[in-house]
Symmetry: C2
Subunit: 349 residues, 2 copies
């Protein structure tokens, strides 16, 4: 089968490899209906990843049909169409049941929660999913062609943006700022809107992304950055700042922006994978801010997200603005790296 | 009247100054029944404060009798005995009503929320309290001699420790770690206990403080620090870590300790005034921790704290292990700096 491999930073190839097989009785093998490239895949692509990139099988977002399950799997069966979280979770341990499935204790003990670090990667025709019962969610029906991108988004970016909005305490009457206009930031707008936020301000300079953000529910656009951007947000919030900020980048600049935009006693949900960023505790103390972030507990949100997609209430797949066959994955990485594409969907042969 | 003044780092004197007078119709003047020295007063004493120390009137903790009120004050009157928060709050603005009175927007707009930065300081015989209605709470009766230290503690350290425990989500069935065995850390033990925590672990090497922590409700003591201390906490929590950590120091070491002891998806409440400490967002992301801290919303807790004190259910005044007349304030600073005293109560002539 085909598998996307990053041989070294900047060098993506598609190899022919063996299909994955069941290794544990809790595993499932799925035949992917589609895959995609994540903003976080750009960190190793750009040589900015802490772990060595050497011949890494890529991909952690996936939807598809179950083709084989281990003897202990009970909730999904061959023939079922499933959406999985980018993090593996048993569904039974203390952190899973506390609502943090992406920090599953069993998955951590077994090596890693990130599926991309534990299998052949999901930018591939088939994938092995550990802890299938705790990680996968069956859809109510085999999706239509139109539903494929929406479900694909649910596997990571939609759930991740949703988590940022949730951790930012988006809700009725609230003003939420979204820092970052990538696929996750745009998904945070969907989350904030669905959770009932009254005013949704996205910081964006890109006309196409601004338009999509508005379609998703953004009520205001702030093009300015840094101190000027903060001043604009204060202007839009009676000088008080936003109730919550969804941070969807992970850089020092975006954290500073989030802290500047949030009100005293407010909430910051952060989901951008942090790179070389730190927060002075004096700043947190002064603003008395609530900070929560990490790998999104997508599995927790999946039933809700799938339901909204099948009801046609959200169309998160609109974040995909480039569709390529898996054989052309390298072009997809290049397009995202050059920012000529927001997010790339990879189709299977 | 007498007023404690820090002329320069390490140099504390007691000056004779004019009594404060009403400046605003929302002010009250109180005659202090006692005052005390705070752990945070040691930062300027040690020359580690960002703001210049030059002739600073000291003190921000206070209890006493109202002697005069402005024309707009309605909830307290001359003759009332009151406990006040170390932060000024109007009680009506958006952050006050949202539960963050120490970040009162009106107080910030007027210059500062910290009463010590806005008045003559409360290590003095009299003090002016701005926004008296939003800042002061009347006690049910004039306190006995025994109740004085308990109420004194409520003005800051008890409420601050309580907030750390509250932000750490102390509650039934929870395991809470307290980092710091000063007056605030010991008060966090009281808070954790009252909020219903099942296991309360305090990190302490000092036998007297350990004994008081146990009296307050600590179930376990960990003497080790750094990685060894973290290992001990993991041992006491089935390898998972604590549900919540109350951080009551503010140093880099104590933040690292807190992050090491908390479980994935857990809570850190931090109340130690941060000095030269920062948190790598990658660490927060990895642990998916909730972080909340700042100047404690003591005013919010005061009615509960006063009630518990009058019912005799808590005895927070036991954190005072040295009582000195205000004229000997310099000795008190020295004792706290040298750690021969945990917390010093200053009596009035």
């Amino acid at each position: 089968m085909r598998s996307v491999v990053m041989e070294a930073p900047g060098k993506v190839v598609v190899n022919e490899v063996e299909k994955p097989t069941l290794l544990e009785p809790t595993d499932a093998i799925i035949k992917l209906a589609a895959s995609c490239i994540c903003g976080s895949d750009l960190w190793p692509y750009r040589g900015a990843d802490a772990k060595p990139v050497d011949h890494r099988a890529m991909g952690h977002e996936y939807i598809g049909e179950v083709v084989e399950v281990g003897s202990e799997v009970t909730t999904v069966a061959p023939g079922d169409f499933v959406v999985g979280s980018f993090c593996i979770s048993c569904g039974e341990c203390e952190t899973c049941t506390a609502g943090y499935p992406s920090r599953c204790l069993k998955a951590i003990a077994a090596g890693d929660t990130y599926i991309g670090m534990r299998s052949n990667g999901t930018q591939a025709e088939y994938a092995r999913v550990p802890f299938a019962d705790g990680t996968l969610v069956k859809t109510p029906a085999t999706p239509t062609e139109e539903q494929i991108p929406h479900l694909m988004a649910a596997s990571d970016v939609l759930g991740t943006g949703w988590y940022a909005a949730d951790a930012a305490q988006a809700g009725p009457g609230k003003t939420i700022v979204v820092v970052g206009d990538g696929a996750v930031g745009l998904s945070a707008v969907i989350g904030a809107k669905q959770l009932g936020a009254e005013k949704i301000i996205i910081m964006s300079r890109n006309p196409e992304r601004q338009a999509l953000a508005k379609e998703f529910g953004a009520t205001h656009i702030v093009e300015e950055r840094g101190e000027e951007g903060i001043a604009k947000v204060l202007e839009l919030t009676d000088g008080v700042g936003a109730h919550g900020v969804a941070e969807a980048v992970g850089s020092q600049q975006s954290f500073d922006q989030a802290l500047g935009c949030v009100r005293h006693g407010g909430y910051i949900g952060f989901v951008g994978v942090p790179h070389d960023s730190a927060i002075g505790t004096d700043k947190l103390f002064d603003k008395q801010v609530h900070l929560e972030g990490g790998p999104a507990p997508v599995r927790k949100y999946l039933p809700t997200l799938i339901d909204l997609i099948y009801k046609g209430e959200i169309e998160p797949g609109k974040v995909f603005d480039l569709v390529l066959p898996i054989d052309e994955a390298a072009k997809g990485y290049e397009a995202m790296d050059q920012r000529t594409a927001t997010k790339v969907l990879l189709t299977m042969p």
